[in-house]
């Protein structure tokens, strides 16, 4: 890996703390990811992307900025990336999913608080996330009370813009959301100093649709038993697609190559596990890290699908490409994003239906329902999900966790027992 120290210094990062943090990661990656048996060959590109997350990827963003381009950081999938791209901007996710700067964050936020919010705030406060450091705008949304209030505080540290995502899906809510999408376009135009036009927006819509389609294709390869790719690797591909917006067309091609390999494997009946391995669905809060997938896959299970923002919710819906005119395009974008069945909606029966459909399609033996501590919406929705799954004879295991490693032993005991139970 090249030396990026001077780039980090330019970005005003805490270089030493960042180094310590990266050292921990580079130790974990081989045993969590690289040492998995029967990995598809095409994964090496995504390993490369992972290794260059804080290197070449940041350099690209910086080069883009030197050319006058803007970088937008978003941490929730409601932000319409098409609009950012059509205005010549680049959108990426922030660092999150690790315990960083806990003491600093707890000066600003309550201790008993969502670990995911604490995580991205911690990265910002300790200046250890190069994505945050090279961003021109952070886009937030109103998908939970914790996030709303945190963005208010985040504005003290970096320019932050919040989109109002409605709580329900009535016609009035849809109108509100559509207005939000339009306002967002104006905001982004003033940031990039470039007008969004019909042609550019059509290109952007097409590109993200392509990206989502190829991720859908990747998801479909996991229908095979045995699955040709591990859950951890599928998650890695998704996270790398999310974090690498500039070479997106290249990513699409690479994911497509990976799918070719996986489809060939599946046709030959080859997989990464024994066909008798219990097939597991993950559902719940986003997994910006590999913790639960790793626990499941080292406890005798195999994750074959995810109902999560870091899973099918990310790529399931496409924007209608047939709309003419900016107004129509923006409407289509609004509709697509509002289809996401985040647990903050009430009622949210779509999510229950989607989970049941996924469970059937992917022929899962059990569902692991992961909840980050203090995430009331996902925690409360467990009741309905578990009930619906029980009706079709699928058991669910609820695990509450955070981004620390302190509970790994206890979680493993439970996950092992669950997989043993459904394997019998």
């Amino acid at each position: 890996m090249a030396d990026y120290r001077s780039m980090y210094e330019e970005l005003g990062m805490d270089v030493e703390l960042h180094e310590q943090f990266m050292a921990g990661f580079s130790q974990m990656y081989p045993q969590m990811i690289l040492d998995q048996p029967n990995r598809p060959k095409s994964m090496s590109y995504f390993d490369y992307l992972y290794s260059e997350q804080h290197g070449a990827s940041i350099k690209e963003l910086q080069d883009h900025r030197t050319r006058g381009g803007k970088v937008v950081v978003f941490s929730c999938l409601y932000m319409p990336r098409e609009i950012v791209r059509a205005a010549g901007g680049i959108s990426v996710g922030p660092c999150e999913g690790a315990e960083v700067g806990v003491a600093e964050v707890e000066n600003l936020l309550p201790r008993n608080f969502c670990p995911l919010i604490k995580s991205f705030m911690g990265f910002k406060l300790t200046k250890t996330c190069p994505y945050f450091q090279c961003s021109d705008l952070v886009v937030g949304e109103t998908t939970c009370d914790g996030r709303k209030k945190s963005y208010e505080i985040l504005t003290e540290f970096c320019p932050t813009y919040v989109m109002e995502v409605p709580q329900m899906k009535s016609p009035e809510d849809k109108m509100l959301w559509l207005e939000q999408v339009k306002r967002f376009k104006v905001e982004i135009e003033s940031l990039t100093n470039r007008k969004v036009d019909e042609e550019g927006l059509a290109r952007a819509i097409k590109l993200y649709n392509q990206s989502n389609k190829v991720l859908q294709r990747l998801g479909a390869t996991r229908l095979a038993n045995p699955t040709p790719i591990s859950g951890k690797d599928a998650l890695l591909v998704l996270l790398m697609t999310l974090m690498n917006d500039i070479p997106l067309s290249q990513s699409i091609e690479r994911v497509s190559n990976l799918c070719d390999e996986l489809e060939t494997r599946a046709a030959r009946g080859e997989g990464v596990v024994d066909p008798s391995t219990p097939r597991i669905m993950y559902t719940g809060t986003p997994t910006a890290e590999f913790k639960l997938h790793h626990l499941i896959e080292t406890s005798g299970g195999s994750v074959v699908c995810e109902d999560a923002c870091t899973g099918s919710r990310f790529y399931r819906e496409l924007v209608d490409e047939t709309q003419d005119g900016l107004e129509g395009q923006l409407m289509a974008i609004g509709e697509k994003y509002l289809k996401a069945d985040c647990a903050h909606f009430t009622p949210n029966n779509e999510r229950i239906e989607n989970i049941v459909r996924l469970a059937r399609e992917y022929d899962v033996a059990g569902v692991v329902y992961g909840v980050l501590h203090f995430c009331h919406t996902f925690a409360a929705e467990f009741y309905k999900v578990q009930k619906a799954l029980a009706e079709i004879g699928i058991p669910t295991l609820l695990v509450e966790t955070d981004h620390g490693q302190g509970d790994v032993g206890q979680l493993k005991t439970r996950i092992e027992a669950f997989i043993e139970m459904i394997g019998n």
């Binding site: 695990v399 206890q410 669950f418 043993e420």
Partner: protein, 258 residues
């Protein structure tokens, strides 16, 4: 056929020697700082008690929080499975197992020795032995005497804190308010039983219910559990060795399958 089971818990290690369906011997010792050494110690002791030589144990399976550290065997089984198997051997009709150990608390719904569903505490210590130990210390009573003492209580006291640490300060303030020790003890047992009952209720265990683990010896907790569950529960004569027994049963099944 003679097999062995080792259960290395967070506080105590247990071993059981099983000949076909019969327990030949068992032993128990503090785990200390080395799971492996504790496992060797309890296994040697159990072998000695059974009057056997170490070569006569055909196969061993380990379980418990320290199961992976046990060098005597390379095969481990989950605590949930071992509890279910062990309880089923002692009580063939068992439908539910409640295991309250030093740092864990789990409830298992089972049918013919197969696990149907289970629920466990997360890393929180409420409703476990460590919690009761801390309370015994605060009240200056011996942990093994807590149960009997609490039965003498005449006043109801509710301990409302869910967290073990907060509950301890709640108990300390009760002591300062000159509340009777036996009444506080009863309140503590009720809070543990409420936690466990909550877990049991979540998975709706039915049929004969067996309570195992160190806390099964506490008659105060058992009394509350029976009151809340509105039925009698069974406590084996030696409730702490049931997990190790289950491991020995699984060891026997493994040999037979080969």
């Amino acid at each position: 056929m003679i097999t062995g089971g080792i259960d290395v818990g967070s506080l105590t290690a247990k071993a059981v020697i099983l000949e076909n369906g019969k327990i030949l011997s068992s032993s128990l010792s503090l785990t200390g700082d080395s799971s492996n050494e504790a496992a060797i110690k309890v296994m040697e002791e159990a072998i000695k008690k059974a009057g056997l030589s170490s070569g006569s144990v055909q196969y061993i399976v380990s379980t418990g929080a320290g199961k992976k550290e046990v060098a005597l065997t390379s095969e481990q089984a989950t605590e949930v499975m071992c509890d279910a198997k062990g309880a089923q051997l002692l009580y063939p009709q068992v439908g539910g197992v409640i295991d309250i150990g030093a740092e864990s608390c789990r409830v298992i719904k089972c049918d013919q020795g197969n696990v149907v569903d289970f629920a466990m505490n997360d890393k929180c210590a409420a409703g476990t032995g460590i919690f009761l130990d801390a309370m015994a210390k605060a009240l200056e009573v011996k942990p093994e005497e807590m149960g009997e003492l609490s039965l003498k209580s005449t006043q109801d006291i509710n301990i409302t804190s869910m967290c073990a640490v907060f509950a301890e300060s709640e108990v300390v303030s009760l002591i300062h308010r000159k509340a009777d020790k036996v009444d506080i003890l009863k309140g503590i047992h009720k809070s543990v039983a409420t936690r466990v009952y909550g877990l049991a209720n979540r998975i709706r265990i039915e049929g004969d219910t067996v309570v195992i683990g160190g806390i099964a010896k506490n008659v105060g907790v058992i009394a509350f559990l029976e009151e809340m569950m509105k039925r009698k529960v069974v406590v084996p004569r030696d409730p702490q060795i049931v997990g190790a027994l289950g491991a020995a049963i699984i060891a026997r099944e493994r040999v037979m399958a080969k």
